[in-house]
Amino acid sequence: MHAVIAGIGQTEFSKNSGRSALQLAAEACRAAIADAGLTPEDIDGSVTFQQDQNDEYRVLGCLGIPELRFSTRTRGGGGGSCATVQHAAAAIESGHARAVLIWRAFNERSRHRFGQPQRRQPDPVWDFYLPFGLDTPAKIYALSFQRYMHRYGLTNADFGLYPVVARQYAATNPNAWFYKRPITLEDHQASRWIVEPLLRLLDCCQESDGGVAMVLVGAERGADLPNPPVRVAAACASHLQGGDELFSYYDRDLSEFPDGRAVARQLWDDSGYRPWDMDVAMIYENFSPIVFMMLEALGYCGPGEARDFIAAGNIGPHGAIPVNTNGGLLGEAYIHGMNNILEAVRQLRGTASNQVAGAARVLVSSGRSGLILDKP
């Protein structure tokens, strides 16, 4: 039996929500449960991120969910966003839960800014990074992107090709923070350096306030609910030796993304689909270079070919494989990748702002986890 996504919900995406993260979680969850045509009493499972600040008991209390029979959290940050669906689907397919609620909610712009140096839990692994100044995600990731840029002779202007596309999609998505605000490559090149010579401001995902939620049920039950169910055709994760939550400095070849390649291989094997069976690809992009590396990991082009692949218009509207049609994490909002899963559901329901005509299969990649969603 397959699991299906029966309901989705979210708050507005902003830079200052004006309310608590718990309030955002509760609003998004309530919207998702209603969208699924269920009531809080129907929910018996939950999944969120290890990093999520909203305790399960508080969420139950806010929503009036009487009992959880299954509750889990996914590893790490955005890399675990697709894994939330993997956990929920596993619970449903194994019979441990009948209706699983997933949420992620925070104020990562107005409160603790995710892109700024953070107080870290005492962990000896940070002793190898913090004393040398690696204290923000941008700096940490830039150091590994450097190898990709060097190997293929790229410059930051090449990476700018992606943000231009993302902001083009966001400009026509009223749900996006950057609605009606497209950019040109000149705008990108005029934005300030965050980590020279890798990342400019417009290569970085946003810091956002907001909440996102989903409800998963079994396929049989999903068929009776009000919205068209979206089937979880494959849900995979990969955590390879040598990696760490934010670092992949110890892979043999830093110009590749081995965890992403491992997830891609699992997704194609498990679903029986191939890259070009997909109608849309949602690719987690904390920073623009990751889209280049992930397009190659997924098999849409060969190593080092992503620059020309993007420049040829393949990922834009009406391209061969439209990517991040909501504007992605750069253009719509950064809810740690969860909003990209909602966009995949909307594409399959036929309700996306930038709807790809007849979209029937959507890939969602969040680096170390991934999904293929289709219609039952």
Binding site: F132, L143, Q146, R147, Y249, Y250, L254
Partner: protein, 53 residues
């Protein structure tokens, strides 16, 4: 910088003694130790080449 040691181990550290524009991939470097706030940290500088000007 991310330095690959001859032994194959990779180490994050700082590179000193060069202007940012002079830093390049594959640059041979050597380790030295610098005391910062009472802690000795490994740091790197361009490799000394005997006979180089």
């Amino acid at each position: 910088v991310l330095v690959e040691l001859e032994e194959g181990v990779r180490l994050v550290a700082n590179l000193q003694g060069l202007q940012p524009a002079e830093v390049a991939n594959e640059l041979p470097v050597e380790v030295f130790f610098d005391q910062v706030d009472g802690v000795w940290l490994p740091q790197f500088r361009p490799q000394f080449r005997p006979g180089a000007a």
